[in-house]
């Protein structure tokens, strides 16, 4: 099963692993293309996007508009949902045939499962959950930069001998490039040997996330609360603010363990690591374990009754106040702004 390492000299090109859900190409693919484009330009190499499972033509062309020179598409319906065995067998097959120099995927549940399988199948090095990728100008190698130990250190990692150089990249750690309608590229549709599509894991059912929780890793804004909320019903205050900001809802472990909100909402060491543009939290003390989940949030606003709360050490803007007074006030102000921003012509339809 194991293949000996490809000689670095024989490997070329930058690949990104695109993701689709129900045939729709996911935004993480566009983030990866923006990152991949920079790497490909630095290497003077083409950028290839690999997509498994059915997808519409426009979704494929959009990847070219967003930076891909080539799209490799294996549309087989057996690849509709992520299943580790067929996904890893098919990508390993493509990697062996075409030998990319660099292969990156999103640090999503799919990417973080697929890539370690692929790393073993292809004898490649793999770095998890990178927040930065650079090309070393001296050697042309991929420098993989990632937080570790709960975000307390940043490590730079390279892969000297094995190819491809692989990494998963934290969602939202890079903005997608705007589409360029004039960009040219090629879509290559492939079929693969049927034995690669076998799976000993079967998808029996799917239950979509109840509400704003599932997507907190993708959300631009996350509004979160913790034990300071005092009871589960008070999450309504948080949800209302989240709606006003079009945000996902997060929580501390304490709030989750008390059954106030589901585990998919948990932010931190034993929950999710998120990189929103803005993290707004109220009634969360800022334990080390909680902070581990928000080290790469761009902006942090915190509300806490206790002026000495740790959360204020990492906040860009903080208010020492009672969340039961502050949240409704803030929400009303935001809702009022939304209303007044609406064009007069759109009002009075009822």
């Amino acid at each position: 099963m194991k293949e000996t390492a490809a000689l670095p000299a024989a490997a070329s090109g930058v690949w990104v692993f695109a993701e689709q859900r129900a045939g729709i190409v996911q935004p993480i693919s566009h983030e990866l293309l923006a990152r991949g484009r920079r790497l490909a330009d630095a290497r003077g190499a083409p950028l290839t996007s690999v997509l498994l499972g059915p997808a519409g033509d426009d979704g494929l062309r959009e990847m070219i508009r967003r930076g891909a020179d080539r799209v490799l598409h294996v549309a087989d319906p057996a690849l509709q949902d992520f299943l580790p065995e067929p996904y890893s067998a098919v990508t390993a097959h493509l990697v062996r045939e075409r030998r990319p120099d660099i292969f990156i995927a999103g640090a999503t549940t799919t990417g973080r499962t697929l890539m370690p399988l692929l790393a073993v199948l292809c004898h490649a090095g793999l770095t998890a959950d990178c927040t930065q990728l650079e090309i070393d100008p001296a050697t042309g190698e991929l420098l993989q930069i990632r937080p570790a130990i709960g975000g307390n250190i940043m490590a730079t990692i390279r892969t000297p001998l094995c190819r491809p150089q692989m990494a998963t990249v934290r969602p939202r750690s890079m903005k997608p490039a705007p589409p360029d309608p004039g960009r040219a590229g090629e879509i290559e549709r492939l079929t693969v040997p049927p034995e690669l599509l076998r799976s000993r894991v079967r998808r029996v059912a799917f239950e979509p996330a109840d509400d704003e929780g599932g997507g907190i890793q993708k959300a631009e804004v996350v509004v979160a609360a913790g034990r300071g909320l005092k009871k589960g019903a008070n999450f309504d205050l948080v949800r209302r603010l989240a709606r006003a900001l079009n945000a996902g809802v997060g929580a501390s472990r304490d709030a989750v363990d008390r059954g106030w909100i589901g585990y998919p909402h948990q932010v931190g060491l034993s929950g999710k690591t998120i990189s929103p543009r803005l993290y707004f939290c109220a009634g969360i003390s800022g334990s080390v374990q909680h902070l581990a989940g928000i080290k790469t949030a761009e902006h942090i606003i915190a509300v806490n009754l206790n002026p000495d709360a740790q959360i204020f050490k990492v906040a860009d803007y903080g208010v020492v106040a009672d969340l039961f007074e502050l949240l409704p006030l803030l929400t009303e102000k935001l809702e009022a702004r939304k209303k007044s921003a609406r064009a007069p012509g759109t009002e009075g339809s009822g």
Binding site: P84, V120, L126, A128, N152, Y317
Partner: protein, 265 residues
């Protein structure tokens, strides 16, 4: 049901301190514990084994002191433990670690299930579980939030993904990596601790598992850490302490302004 739980010993994160001058992690005085996310895997394994009269084996790779982690797993209720330890394993990345663990699992013999924590809290990669599956050619399900049914030929599990929960059926033997929701870890009992103290924990080296030297440790690892730095965490935030409703109102307007500057209102 024969279950293997690969566990890792990690520094207790809440105690990790960085030297502000050198940016190096201060390890002295930092306690070593079982990776907290592995406790969920141990608990899930114990519950399965109790349900059908099975055997659970804690398997760890690490320095000699990692034996304490194996004994703690036994104290929680694992039937037995094995430690992979030798200087040639030092510096292994996830590729080399999963390779060594897979050889140890092969050597130990037949099993039904391998249960891992989702990731370790120090390295934070989540790559060893799937890596073991790839080396052993086994099916794998990651991010398992509940084991719904188990055995004799298959497991049915719930998997937490970005969009919700999938229900998956996997053939046995297979590898599962579990998240916090899967189980609430028990504490070791007094009897468990006594059993753990009395237990013999075999220590295996590269010869015991038939590992080729070139695939172990730093030598066998495709990746190299070239630089470690500690980013400055403190943000120089503007913290307001309103004393009356008017000041609170101004502080809230400050939030609105902040949101507006970000283009979020």
């Amino acid at each position: 049901m024969d279950i293997i739980v690969p566990i890792k010993q990690v520094p207790e994160t809440s105690k990790v301190r960085m030297d502000p001058n050198t940016g190096v992690m201060i390890r002295e005085g930092v306690e070593s514990i079982i990776n907290p996310l592995d406790l969920y895997a141990i608990e899930a394994a114990l519950q399965l084994a109790e349900g059908c009269g099975g055997r659970t084996t804690a398997l760890s790779m690490g320095p000699a002191k990692a034996e304490a982690a194996v004994r703690e797993a036994i104290a929680m209720g694992c039937t037995e433990g094995v430690l992979l330890s030798h200087r040639s394993f030092a510096g292994s990345d996830t590729w080399a670690t999963s390779f060594a663990l897979s050889l140890a699992i092969r050597k130990r013999g037949a099993f039904d299930l391998i249960l891992c924590g989702e990731r370790a809290t120090d390295g934070d990669t989540g790559q060893v579980g799937p890596g073991i599956a790839a080396w052993l050619g086994l099916p794998v399900v990651t991010y398992v939030s509940r084991i719904l049914e188990c055995g004799p030929r298959a497991v049915v599990v719930r998997r937490m993904i970005e969009e919700g929960y999938e229900t998956l059926e996997a053939e046995l033997p297979c590898v599962l990596t579990v998240v916090k929701e899967a189980a609430y870890p028990r504490l070791p009992t007094l009897r468990g601790k006594q059993r753990a103290r009395a237990a013999t924990v075999p220590v295996w080296g590269p010869e015991d598992i038939g590992a080729p030297a070139e695939s172990l440790g730093l030598k066998g690892s495709p990746t190299r850490v070239v630089k470690v730095e500690s980013p400055s965490l403190a943000r120089h935030g503007d913290v307001r302490t309103p004393k009356d409703p008017a000041e609170l109102e101004r502080a809230v307007d400050g939030i609105v302004d902040y949101l507006e500057r970000l283009g979020l209102t």
